[in-house]
C-alpha cells in the first residue's frame, strides 16, 4: 500500500506540512478562515534533530498497530492497511497517544485523539502534506517492508 | 518590374516526366512531349523544358554548351571569355520552330568546346572542374549570358511556355536520345524567365524537380562554400549542385547520395544492422547540411542513367513504370500511359527510396 515516507535530506523545516494538514482536515475551503488566529493541531509534526536536520513525522500505518490494539473504544481500526479513527466512537481516553511509539497520534485540541488518515476522509483525496511540500521531502508511495535506503 | 530568379526565391509547383531505355536505344522527343500533355494543369505556361542524353554522338568528346544571350553584345563578351579557356569546336544556333505560344526569345546558341590543356595544367584541375568554374562565372558575373546546359553528349532545352509547346519549339522530334526527362513549371509569382525553367544542368547532371524544399538556404549556404554559386535561387539548381558535389567531388555512389539527400529517419537507421547503421549514421553526420527537406520529387539525369527520388515523407507524387527495357517516371500515371499505353507494371516508390536506372554498360 502507499504510505507517507520522509526524505529528511530534503526537508527544509518550513512547517508547511503542518499547516496544510491542519487546513486539509479543517473541513473549510479557505485556509485563512481555517487557520488564522487559531492554534493548529496538525497530524504531522516537524521535528529537528541535534544537527538541525528536520523531518516530518506522521502515522506510519504500522503493519501491527499497537494503537488499534489498545483502543478501548474500538474507534481505531485498520482498513486496507490504513489506520482509521472513528471519531464518533472515540471517548478521548488518549490511550492511543500513550502507546504510539512514534508520537503520531495526537490530541486534536478538543480532547479526542486524531491521526493521519492519509487525507482519505477529507476533500483533499491525497495527502495534503505531500502535495504541499515544496521540496519533495514527504512522499506518498509504495515501499517494500524491508526498509528502503532511499 | 517583377524580380526574376536569382533576384528572389520563387516557389513553384510542377510536373516531371522521364523515359529511358536500358538497352541504350535512342528515341526521338515525340513521346516525351506527348507525356506532358495530360499533366498540362500542373504547369502554368511559365516554364517548360527537357533534357536529352545521347543526342550528340558525333560531338560526344566535347562539352555542349547551350547558352541564352540577351544580346549580341552579351554573346560576344561571353565568347571572348570562353575562348580564354576552351577551344571552340562548333558554335551554332539551336534550331527552333516559331510558335505563337513562345515569345520573348533570347539568342539561343549551342557551342561545343574542348578545354585547353594548358589551362588545365596551369590551374591544376580537371576538365569538368574547369567547365563548372567557367559556367558558374558566366552565370554569376556575365549579365545577359546564361549557360543552361554544359554536359557531354547531352543537352537541355527549355523556355517560358507550356512544356509541350517548348518541346515543339525546340523541334525535339528531330533529336534522338536514350534518356529523356521533361518538366513543366508552375511558378507562383513570376513572369517566368527562360533560364529559370527546368531542367537545371551542371555537366552531365540534369535535374527536373517538382517541389519546394524547405532546407533550401541551409543547402545553398553549405554548397556555396565549395565554389558553387546559386544564382537562380531555385531548388533544382541547388539539388544539381548537391548531386555534383556528392557524386563527382566526394565520389559517393548514387545510393549513398540518396541517403544524404533523403536520409532515412534516425528511427529507421537505428533499427538497421550494425554495418548499415554505421554507414547511414556516418553519411548523416558527415553531410548534415545536404539533407533536403520539404516536398520534392526529382529526376536526376546523368550520363548513362537516371535516378528518381522523393522526399522522405513523399510529399510529392511520383510513379514509375517498367516495360521491357524501358523505364518511365512521371508525376502522374497518366503521363506514363501516354508513353506506354499498354504498360502493366506501375508502382509508386516510397519516400526517400531512390529509383536508379542505368543503361547497359557500353550501350550509350
Amino acid at each position: 500500500m502507499k504510505r507517507i515516507y520522509v526524505k529528511e535530506e530534503w526537508c527544509l523545516g518550513c512547517h508547511l506540512c503542518e499547516y496544510n494538514c491542519a487546513f486539509a482536515n479543517s473541513g473549510l475551503t479557505d485556509m485563512v478562515k481555517a487557520l488564522r488566529d487559531k492554534p493548529i493541531y496538525p497530524r504531522i509534526q516537524v521535528e529537528t534533530d541535534e544537527n538541525g536536520v528536520t523531518y516530518a513525522v506522521s502515522c506510519r500505518h504500522c503493519t501491527d498497530p499497537i494503537c488499534v490494539k489498545s483502543c478501548i473504544a474500538g474507534a481505531l481500526s485498520k482498513k486496507d492497511g490504513v489506520i482509521e479513527i472513528d471519531h464518533s466512537k472515540c471517548v478521548g481516553c488518549l490511550t492511543c497517544v500513550l502507546v504510539c511509539p512514534y508520537g503520531a497520534v495526537v490530541e486534536d485540541g478538543s480532547g479526542v485523539a486524531q491521526k493521519c488518515e492519509l487525507c482519505m476522509k477529507n476533500s483533499c483525496g491525497a495527502p495534503a502534506c505531500v502535495k504541499g511540500c515544496p521540496n519533495g521531502a514527504i512522499v506518498y508511495e509504495e515501499r517494500q517492508a524491508v526498509p528502503a535506503s532511499d | 518590374m517583377s524580380q526574376l530568379e536569382g533576384q528572389v526565391r520563387i516557389p513553384s509547383g510542377c510536373a516531371v516526366s522521364a523515359m529511358i531505355s536500358r538497352d541504350g536505344r535512342r528515341m526521338n522527343g515525340e513521346s516525351i512531349i506527348e507525356s506532358m500533355i495530360p499533366m498540362h494543369d500542373r504547369s502554368n505556361g511559365l516554364g517548360g523544358g527537357f533534357a536529352a542524353y545521347g543526342i550528340y554522338p558525333e560531338y560526344k568528346d566535347f562539352f555542349a554548351l547551350h547558352i541564352f544571350f540577351n544580346s549580341r553584345q552579351c554573346q560576344s563578351e561571353c565568347m571572348t571569355l570562353l575562348k580564354e579557356y576552351f577551344e571552340i569546336v562548333q558554335d551554332e544556333h539551336i534550331k527552333v520552330r516559331k510558335l505563337p505560344q513562345i515569345t520573348d526569345e533570347p539568342i539561343i546558341r549551342r557551342v561545343f568546346v574542348s578545354p585547353m590543356q594548358s589551362v588545365l595544367r596551369h590551374l591544376q584541375i580537371d576538365e569538368k572542374e574547369l567547365v563548372v568554374r567557367i559556367v558558374n562565372r558566366i552565370n554569376a558575373q556575365l549579365e545577359g549570358s546564361y549557360v543552361f546546359s554544359c554536359g557531354k553528349n547531352m543537352g537541355a532545352f527549355k523556355a517560358v511556355g507550356f512544356p509541350e509547346d517548348v518541346g515543339r519549339y525546340y523541334r525535339l522530334e528531330e533529336y534522338e536520345a536514350y534518356c529523356w526527362t521533361a518538366h513543366g513549371r508552375y511558378p507562383t509569382n513570376t513572369p517566368g524567365w527562360w533560364g529559370g525553367a527546368h531542367p537545371f544542368c551542371m555537366l552531365d547532371y540534369s535535374i527536373v524537380h517538382n517541389g519546394e524544399i524547405s532546407s533550401y538556404d541551409a543547402n545553398r549556404r553549405f554548397i556555396e562554400m565549395y565554389g558553387y554559386k546559386c544564382t537562380l535561387q531555385t531548388d533544382t539548381e541547388v539539388i544539381t549542385y548537391i548531386a555534383d558535389y556528392l557524386l563527382r567531388r566526394q565520389g559517393l555512389t548514387l545510393e549513398e547520395t540518396a541517403s544524404v539527400i533523403a536520409a532515412p529517419f534516425w528511427s529507421t537507421i537505428d533499427a538497421k544492422p550494425e554495418a548499415e547503421k554505421q554507414t547511414l549514421t556516418y553519411l548523416r553526420n558527415a553531410f548534415p547540411s545536404l539533407l533536403v527537406t520539404g516536398p520534392f520529387s526529382i529526376i536526376l539525369g546523368f550520363e548513362g542513367g537516371l535516378m528518381a527520388l522523393n522526399d522522405r515523407l513523399k510529399l510529392r507524387s511520383m510513379v514509375v513504370g517498367e516495360q521491357g527495357d524501358m523505364v518511365y517516371i512521371a508525376s502522374e500515371e497518366a503521363a506514363i500511359r501516354v508513353m506506354a499505353p499498354d504498360i502493366t507494371n506501375i508502382w509508386s516508390p516510397a519516400g526517400g527510396e531512390p529509383v536508379i536506372v542505368k543503361v547497359k554498360e557500353g550501350a550509350f
Binding site: - | 524547405s214 532546407s215 520539404g294
Partner: protein
Amino acid sequence: MNFYPEFEVERNDSRCIRCRVCERQCANEVHWFDADGKVMLSDESKCVNCQRCVTLCPTRALKIVKSDCRLRENANYSDQTIKEIYRQAETGGVLLSSMGNPNPLPVYWDKILINASQVTNPPIDPLREPMETRVFLGKKPKHIRRNADGTLDTKLAPQLTLSMPVMFSAMSYGSISYNAHASLARAATALGIYYNTGEGGLHEDFYQYGKNTIVQVASGRFGVHKDYLEAGAAIEIKMGQGAKPGIGGHLPGTKAVGDVSKTRMIPEGSDAISPAPHHDIYSIEDLRQLVYSLKEATEYRLPVIVKVAAVHNIAAIASGIARSGADIIAIDGFRGGTGAAPTRIRDNVGIPIELALAAVDKRLRDEGIRNNVSIVCGGSIRSAADVVKAIALGADACYIATAACLAMGCHLCRSCHTGKCNWGIATQRPDLVKRLNPDIGSERLINLMNAWRHEIKELMGGMGINSIEALRGNRLMLRGVGLTGKELEILGISHAGE
C-alpha cells in the same frame, strides 16, 4: 548613506496565518515573528526580491513590490546610477552584479520572425510525422574515404551526439550548489544532452554522469587533472565569458568550502582567482598548443570546445579557432549570465550573440571552413524560438544556463554574488543547498527541455522542415522586423515583407 529600500514587503495581515514560513525561508532575514504583538514584521532593506517568501506563503498574504520612493527623476542620472555613485563613494569598490545584463539593450531574437509553410509547401505535423532533432557536434570530414572493399570508412573525428540542439552551459561547482550540479547532470543524462562543469572541477559523485558531461579547462585550471579530463565527453577551453569578457573569475573563499575546495583542489577558504588570460595562451598559436595538449592527454578521443565571449572581432577570432584544431566553438553573447561580475563589465563589454553568431557563421562559410567546427551559441537563449532562430542563423546547438537556473527555481533576483541564494542554486550554505531537491530540479529541467523540444518540432514542422540539420544556417526561414539595413546585412536575413 541610507536609502529607502528598493523593495517593499506588502503583507496582507488579514490573510496572514502566522505560519512563519516566510521567516524560516528567508536567508536574508527579512521577516520575523513578533511574539508580543503576534504579528510578522519585516526589514525590507535586506530584501532582494527573490520571491521565495511570496512563493511559499500558503495564503498569498505576501507580495514584494518595487518601492516608489525614488530620487528626483532624471533621464540622464537614473536613480540607480546615482545610488551606484553613492555606494562607490562610500566603499571605494568595484560594483558587483550577478546573472545577465538587465539593461534594455537590443534583443535581436525578438526582432527576428520565423517562417511557416502555406500552400506551395506543406507544413508537417510533428505529432504524425517523424521530426528529428538529433545533432552531432564536431569536425566533419573534408573527403570521404573508402575501405579496400569499397565500403565507406565511417570513422569520424570525435563527436558529441545531442538528442536536441541544447546543452547546459558552464556553471562551476562552487558558483552553484552540489544539488544544482546533480540536477543538471541527471537531466542531461536523461535527455541525452550535455552539461558543463564550468571551472570548478567535477565532484567525485558526478563522474557517473561523465558520458553527458563537458569538462571545462579555464584560466585558473582549478580541478583539472587527468581523470577529470578523461571523465567527460568533451573538453571545453574557456577563453572568455559573455557576461565578463576580458576578465577572469573570482570564487570568494567563503564559497570554497568542503567539497568545493576539494573538487577545485585548493585549500579550504582560499579565494579561487581565475586570471583574465590563460597565462599559457597569449596568442592563437598558443591556443592550438593547448587544444592539442588536451587531445594528446585524452588520446584524441574527445572533441575540444573553445569557448569565447562575443566581442567586436569575433568573426576573425572564430576563424582562428576553427583552424586551431578545436572541434567546436562556443560563443557567449553579452547578455549571458554570471555568478558574479563587475557591473560595469557585465553591462558594457561584449556584443549581442545574434550578431556574433551571424558574423561567425558567415565568416567560416566565406572561408570554407565551416565544416572544421561546430558552432554553439549561448548568452541568453530564453526559449525554443530563440533556439530555432539561432540554428537558422547558423548555430549547431545552443548553450543555456540562465533558463536552466530558472527551471531549477531561480527567480532572477541577481544576488548570486551574496552566496545566500534562497533557491538553493547559487549558494554553498548547506541549509540553502538543501532547498534544491535534485529529484525535482532534474525533473523540471527535463520538462523544460521536453517542452522546448516539442516547440522546436512545432516550429520546424511549420516551416516544412523535418530534421534540424535542414534548419541549420537556413536564414531564408528568418525575417527581421524593425531592423536597420546594416543589422539585416550582418544577420544575413531579409526584412519581413521582402
